[in-house]
C-alpha cells in the first residue's frame, strides 16, 4: 500500500468522525497556539527591554553611589559616601583613565517648568556637554550645552522632544524663555526623540549645565554631589579596561581598600541587560512550561482517541488483515492517522497563534514577536506528538490477530 493510499485512508477515517477528530485536534491546537504566544510574548518583552537599554548610549558604564553588598554598618545608597563632581573630574583624566572617552556626571530632580501660562513638571537634569555624546543623543533644533555655559553658570536649557511639545506646542522653543522653578532659563536647543523603543522619560526632560543646577536650582548639600556618572569607553573592546580604571580610581579617591566594600556600583549596559532579561526569561520559561504541559495533555488526547478508534474499528482491521494487510501496513496506517491529527492541530494552532500575535498587541501594550523558527518547531512538534502518542495504539492494532478482529461483533 503506497504512502499516498495510506494518507487517503487516514483522511477518510478522520473525516468519518468529524466531531471526535475536531475535539482531538483542539487539544493540540490550544497547546501549539499557547506555546507560540508565550514564546512570542517573552521574546517581545526581551527585545523591548534590550532596545530601551541600548538607547541609553553605546559603550556605556554607569557609576551609581551606594553598594550592592550591604556590609556591616555602612550606609546604603544616598548616604554620606555620595559621588561628587570631583570624582567625575578625576575620571576625565586621560592619564589615569586612558580608556574612558567621555564623562558625564548627572544630577536630576523633578521640577515644575513654566512657559507663559503653560505648566509642565518634568525631570531637570544637570550635566556637562559630554552628556550628549555619552548618551548618544542628537538635536533636532538649536545647540547643546557648551563648556562656556558650564563655566559661566549660564541659565540655558535643552529640552527633550516631549517637554518642548508640552510647553510650546508646535512653536519653535529656541530662544524662548522657560521658568524652571522660579529661575528663568533660555531654551537653546531641542533633543531629537530617542525613538519608540526608549523609555518614556528619555523624551521628557530638561537638560541644564550641572554648575547652574547646583548653584541656582538645587543648592544646599547637593551642591557638589552627583546622582550618577555616565562613562563612555573609547570602544567596545576597551569597555572592561575602562571599567577597571574607573573602579580603581574611585576606590583610591574614596579611600576604600577592600574592593568588596566599595561605596559605589559600576554597571555596564550588558549587566543591566542581563538583569532585565533574566526576569523576563524566567517568566517565559514558566509560561512556556505551562503551554508545553497543555501540549502534552493534547498528545494524551490523541492517544486516547486512537485507542478508541482501534477498538471501534476492530472488524475493519481484521478485514484489512484478511485481505492482505501486513502488521507493518496496519501500524503505518494508524501512525499516519495520528500524525495527520497532530499536524492538522499544529497547523491550526500555529495559525491561531500568529493571529493572536498580530491582534493581541493592539489590546494589551506589549510586543509579541512571531518567531518563524519557533512556529516551524511547534508544527514539527505537533507531528512528533501525534507520532509518539500514536505508537501504542498503532502497535495494538498491528498485533490484533485477524480472527479475533473478525470475530468481534
Amino acid at each position: 500500500m503506497s504512502w499516498m493510499e495510506t494518507l487517503r485512508t487516514s483522511f477518510d477515517a478522520i473525516r468519518s468522525h468529524r466531531l471526535r477528530s475536531g475535539l482531538t485536534m483542539l487539544g493540540i491546537l490550544i497547546g501549539i497556539a499557547a506555546v507560540i504566544l508565550t514564546v512570542g510574548l517573552g521574546e517581545g518583552a526581551q527585545q523591548q527591554v534590550a532596545s530601551a537599554i541600548n538607547s541609553l548610549g553605546t559603550n556605556l558604564l554607569v557609576v551609581s553611589p551606594g553598594s550592592t553588598t550591604t556590609g556591616g554598618v555602612r550606609g546604603g545608597q544616598g548616604s554620606s559616601s555620595a559621588l561628587t563632581v570631583s570624582d567625575a573630574t578625576a575620571l576625565s583624566s586621560k592619564v589615569a583613565a586612558p580608556d574612558i572617552a567621555a564623562v558625564a556626571p548627572t544630577t536630576s530632580r523633578s521640577t515644575a517648568l513654566t512657559a507663559g501660562s503653560t505648566n509642565w513638571t518634568t525631570s531637570v537634569v544637570g550635566t556637562t556637554p559630554a552628556w550628549q555624546s555619552v548618551r548618544a543623543r542628537t538635536l533636532s533644533e538649536g545647540r547643546f550645552l557648551t563648556e562656556q555655559d558650564l563655566t559661566s553658570d549660564a541659565a540655558v536649557t535643552v529640552l527633550a522632544a516631549t517637554t518642548a511639545q508640552e510647553l510650546f506646542g508646535g512653536a519653535d522653543p529656541v530662544g524662548r524663555t522657560v521658568a524652571i522653578g522660579s529661575t528663568p532659563f533660555t531654551v537653546v536647543g531641542v533633543l531629537a526623540s530617542a525613538g519608540n523603543s526608549a523609555a518614556q522619560n528619555e523624551d521628557d526632560q530638561a537638560v541644564v549645565p550641572i554648575s547652574t543646577a547646583a548653584d541656582r536650582l538645587f543648592g544646599g548639600s547637593t551642591r557638589t554631589s552627583v546622582q550618577s556618572i555616565y562613562l563612555e569607553a573609547t570602544s567596545s573592546d576597551t569597555l572592561s579596561a575602562a571599567y577597571q580604571e574607573a573602579n580603581q580610581l574611585l576606590l583610591n579617591l574614596h579611600h576604600v581598600t577592600d574592593p568588596a566594600a566599595a561605596d559605589f556600583t559600576i554597571a555596564s549596559q550588558q549587566s543591566l541587560l542581563s538583569t532585565a532579561t533574566s526576569v523576563s526569561k524566567t517568566l517565559t520559561i514558566l509560561l512556556g512550561g505551562v503551554a508545553a504541559l497543555s501540549l502534552l495533555v493534547g498528545g494524551i488526547g490523541v492517544m486516547n482517541i486512537m485507542l478508541v478508534s482501534v477498538t471501534e474499528r476492530i472488524r475493519e482491521i481484521g478485514l484489512r488483515k484478511a485481505l492482505g494487510a501486513s502488521p507493518v501496513v496496519i501500524r503505518r496506517q494508524f501512525l499516519v492517522e495520528a500524525s495527520v491529527l497532530g499536524l492538522a492541530g499544529g497547523l491550526l494552532g500555529a495559525a491561531l497563534g500568529v493571529i493572536g500575535a498580530l491582534t493581541l498587541p493592539q489590546l494589551i501594550s506589549s510586543t509579541i514577536t512571531i518567531s518563524p523558527t519557533a512556529t516551524a518547531a511547534a508544527i514539527l512538534t505537533s507531528i512528533a506528538i501525534g507520532l509518539a502518542f500514536g505508537v501504542y495504539p498503532a502497535s495494538r492494532a498491528a498485533r490484533l490477530a485477524p480472527i479475533d478482529a473478525l470475530r468481534s461483533e
Binding site: 500500500m1 481484521g318 484478511a322 485481505l323 492482505g324 494487510a325 501486513s326 502488521p327 507493518v328 501496513v329
Partner: protein
Amino acid sequence: MTLDMTAPLPTAGDTAGPVIDISEVRKVYKTGALEVEALRGITLRIEQGEYVAIMGPSGSGKSTLMHILGCLDVATTGTYLLAGEDVSGLTEAELAVIRNRRIGFVFQQFNLLPSLTAWRNVELPLCYAGVAKAERKQRALEVLARVGLGDRVEHKPTELSGGQQSRVALARALVNKPALILADEPTGALDSKSTADVLSVFADLHAAGHTIVLITHEEDVAEHAERTVRLHDGLISSDARRTGGVFA
C-alpha cells in the same frame, strides 16, 4: 446471470498439484488452565477446480478449519500445503502476503467497509498487493461487471441490497485472481431469493474453473457443491463426492 467464460483461469501456484493439502492438522486453544482441542487430526486434499462444502454443527471445528485454510490462523501441529507452498511455519507478515495472493474471502456479514464505494471496496486487495492506481480501478470495474454490478460501482454498501452487497464481496474475493475462494456462511444473512442468486454466482465461478470452499450449516446450500465434507468433534466424519449431480 452469466459469467464471462473466456476469463483467464486462476493460476494455482507453481505446481499442478492440489490447491489444498493438509495432513494431520491439530489445533489446540488454551484458555487459562483449560485446553480445548478444536481439531484432532484432519487430513484433507482439495484439487484444483473442486467445489467443496464443509459442514458440521457448531463446535465441530468447522470455523477453526476455515481459519486455518484461510491462513488467518496457524495449526498447532500438522502441515498445510496451499497451492504447493508450505504455509505451516510462516510469520504473520508472510501469511498476509499468502492471503492477499492466493485466497479470496467471502465473509458471513460480507464485511464491506461502509465509508467506501463498491469499487473502492473491491480494489482493497489490490491496494495491499501494490498494484498501480489506474490498473486497480480498471480491474475492480471489470470484476464488478462480471458479477453483474457494472451500474452500481459508485454506490456505498448501505445503498445496496443484501444480494448486491454479497456480489460486491464476491467481486472483492475474485479481484486478485486467487487460487482458492473461501466462503464462510455466505448465505447466512440472506433471504431465499438472494441466497439462490449468490449460489448461482458460485455455480458460474465453479463452471469457470475456480476452486471454491464453502463453510455452511445449511443442507440445501451444501447440496449445490459437488463434494461435502462433514466435521464432528474436530474430526472428519464423512467426505462424500456427488457424481452425476446438478453440475456434473
